[in-house]
């Protein structure tokens, strides 16, 4: 077993890397039973660190 395989990565570090890269989650699901639409889930999520590509949606605080 090499050192790399043995190294343990904490979940907090995984989340940190995930945020640094950024994730977009989209999906549109409608749950229907017997031809009756019951639940609509229209997902459009962006999860990322604030950086040049993903600016903050708020004005820069003075």
């Amino acid at each position: 077993m090499t050192v790399v395989e043995r190294r343990e990565i904490a979940l907090v570090d995984l989340l940190d890397r995930l945020l640094a890269g950024g994730v977009v989650i989209t999906g549109d699901i409608t749950l229907r039973i017997a031809d009756v639409d019951l639940v609509r889930i229209d997902l459009n999520a962006l999860i990322s660190s604030v950086n040049q590509n993903v600016p903050s949606p708020f004005e820069e605080s003075p």
């Binding site: 979940l11 907090v12 570090d13 940190d16 660190s49 604030v50 950086n51």
Partner: protein
Amino acid sequence: MTDDPRHRTPEAAPDPVTVTDADLFEGRSPLDPEASFDARPAPAARPAEPRPKPRRRLDLEPDTVERDLVKLVLTVVELLRQLMERQAVRRFDEGDLTEEQEERVGLTLMLLEDRMAELRNRYGLRPEDLNLDLGPLGPLLPRD
């Protein structure tokens, strides 16, 4: 052609041999009592050895319920704090913050860490108590 039963041709196949539970348990083969299953290309199923598995659970007792709930909440807060800390370091590396902003973010994170230590001490919790073993996912927070 050797006498080894493993190398016998189908025509020379011996009479059906019954494998008893005791043979399986001992890892013996009735065809060739000298050979253990380890020597065969496809070893037969060995009895599974029960492996002691460390299990962790959140114990809630009436007399410690406050401390245990605080522990649960502080675990979540600690995860967010460490995540924010890492994200702040990334932001500093990018260099788009002013010096004053970096100063304020650093000071806030430092005060937050002190405050967490204070709360931990109040409930007699060690830093490693706020970590969770997530099994195949690894630990929640890095182990020191």
